[in-house]
Amino acid sequence: MGRYVIRRLLQAVLTLFFVLFLLHYLLSLAIQVNGNPARTFFGDKPATPEQIAAVEAKFGTDDPCLDRLGDPCLGMFQQRMADWMTLDFGTNFDGYAVTDEIVRAVPPTLILFAISTSVWVLFGVTTGVLAAMKRGRFFDYLVRAGTTFTVAVPTFLLLVITQQLVGVSLGNWARDTFGRESVLGIVFQPSYDDRYPFLSLLVPGILLGAFGIAGITRLSRTSMLENLRADFVRTAKAKGLTSRRVTIVHTLRNSLIPVITLVGFTLADALGGTVITEGIYSIPGMGGLAYNATRENDLPVVIAIVAILSVCFMVVTLLIDLLYAVLDPRIRYE
């Protein structure tokens, strides 16, 4: 087990290195193709080459390699990695410390993910399991139809419509009825409110949860179905156990194993969903930070964010694998 974890960690470090380099190269290429972002500092106003040079120095985009198309800018990469070793993550184009920017952006996104994950686990898994238990009945069809429909409706459509209907219309009703600072008045509002991070993120979090919930519900259902027909479930029935025990003790745990993997992957995929959710609900989180920084070729921010996300991704996969081993002893002893 220990050796396995160490091997995984080494692999992760290597992967991280490649990810960072690839991204660095892509960003350098983007600057080489799209032009130096320093120019945008002056907008439509004319600026002398000297003024631009000063801003390039400020942005850290003054390396001449950025003018040569295709140059991998190894020097810059080396410098950045060396800075990182000393825990210096640099500043963004507005001169703010990247670390601060990210530290500020993490909490809302974390809450958002926590809510979505609860939605997946509590709602997705439960309905999936129940649908499997009631296979072929109305509830099952309802769940299958529902998940199919969720797949087909783009998340952003849901968000835009909900913002108006729930945030404004329903919210105004709640605020008129229960008062401005009532729980419902805060839950049903059209944008993030930093005084009530959790409550005001509830609706967008649930909607973000709608992203990927179909997959989780369906997998829970199939996995449960597969296990319900497993020999060991038949054995459990033959042992005269109550059907509740057969389901919970002898089917559920086995069925959850693949679902957990999927929850991990969905979480990683959901970053795309956060960009949209955070954009529409004005949530100052990681998704928006990453999106804007990428559009502006803000190299230090993008690289740092992706590094963090990669590390998170790897930690999550590692955790999932460990959890997998906890849940499935067959893997534990390999």
Partner: protein, 352 residues
């Protein structure tokens, strides 16, 4: 000894309070059992009127090809058929006179493992991979007998010991995949015997095992059966095993019993062409230099069983009547019955 302790267990007599219970009734009687499967291809009649009875201390072998309905019969007796798609369409299953099919689901559940237990064929898949063997054994005591975890575990070790698993005290905390095939099957047997049932159904208990291990397991089963005076239903397609351990035999084909008799009589002179064909298809040590016969053709599609004798298309003895009229299971000689228009001729091998 555990056996005696169990006999005094609180469970004993659960079935006694149930409607129809008679102390002197046969241990298990199956009468005209019919099981259907509702599939999108139509209704498949997996079991189509099976009768047999089992006395305490007796071993009944049920043989037939896969698809003949023997496993479904066993699951119907246990009450663990998946419903739907399965449905018991008719018949009775009487345990000491109590018709199990008329009991509520809850009563039925309490009969399982307490009075009727089952050993499944592939122990690796029949044991839950994510729980320890001790947990899966102990669960029976905890849920049926209300024992504490500690006591249950102790009983689990005793059971493992009883089925002759070495170092039982250590192995009780291991997972099924850490056991060898034979050991796993012993665990399976221990589990079936835990609550000391009167009827044990063994569904091909040795198919997945090596030949040497097969013999050990069969010996263990028959030892325990003798010791506890249980009724044993042995489902198998291995006629060699049947010859060694069974008292009576029921041969099934396409959901029906086609021959029922004492094992020795059947082996000596089968009364149904299908039995005959089955017997010919096992290798025999005493007859050398003879080609093994295979049964030509395939069993019928269960959603569409032909009129007349279901075996007719594959039967060397078939006449016109076989294709139009279904032969009932009728007595051929005393204690023997077969479902063949030409049973006596087959028995005497006197058919063209």
């Amino acid at each position: 000894m555990t056996v005696e302790l169990d006999r005094q267990g609180s469970h004993n007599g659960y079935v006694e309070g149930l409607p129809g219970y008679r102390d002197d009734a046969p241990l298990l009687e199956v009468e005209d059992l019919q099981v259907e499967f509702h599939t999108r291809d139509g209704v498949a009649r997996a079991v189509n009127g099976v009768d047999f009875s089992l006395r305490a201390g007796e071993t009944l072998a049920v043989v037939g090809e896969s698809g003949s309905g023997k496993s479904v019969t066993a699951q119907a007796i246990m009450g663990i058929l998946e419903e739907p798609p399965a449905r018991v369409a008719g018949g009775e299953i009487r345990f000491r006179g109590v018709d199990l099919l008329k009991l509520s689901a809850e009563r039925r559940r309490r009969i399982r493992a307490n009075h009727v237990a089952m050993v499944f064929q592939d122990a690796l898949s029949a044991l839950n991979p994510v729980w320890t063997v001790g947990f899966q054994l102990g669960e029976l005591f905890r849920k049926h007998r209300g024992m504490s975890r500690k006591d249950a575990r102790r009983r689990a070790v005793e059971l493992l010991d009883m089925v002759r698993i070495p170092a039982a005290a250590q192995r009780v905390d291991e997972y099924p995949h850490q056991f060898s095939g034979g050991m796993r099957q012993r665990v399976m047997i221990a589990m079936a015997l835990a609550l000391d049932p009167e009827v044990l159904i063994a569904d091909e208990p040795t198919t997945a095992l090596d030949v040497t291990v097969q013999a050990q397991i069969m010996r263990l089963l028959s030892d325990i059966q003798a010791e506890r005076h249980m009724g044993l239903i042995l489902i198998t397609h291995d006629l060699g095993v049947v010859a060694d351990v069974a008292d009576d035999i029921t041969v099934m084909y396409a959901g029906r019993a086609v021959e029922q008799a004492n094992v020795r009589d059947t082996f000596a002179s089968p009364a149904h062409p299908y039995t005959k064909a089955l017997l010919r298809s096992i290798p025999r040590l005493d007859v050398k230099g003879q080609r093994l016969e295979v049964i030509a053709g395939l069993p019928p599609v269960l959603t569409d069983i032909p009129p007349g004798c279901a075996f007719a298309p594959r039967c060397g003895y078939a006449q016109d009547v076989c294709r139009t009229e279904r032969p009932p299971l009728s007595t051929v000689t005393a204690g023997r019955s077969a479902a063949c228009h030409f049973a006596s001729e087959v028995m005497t091998d006197d058919v063209n």
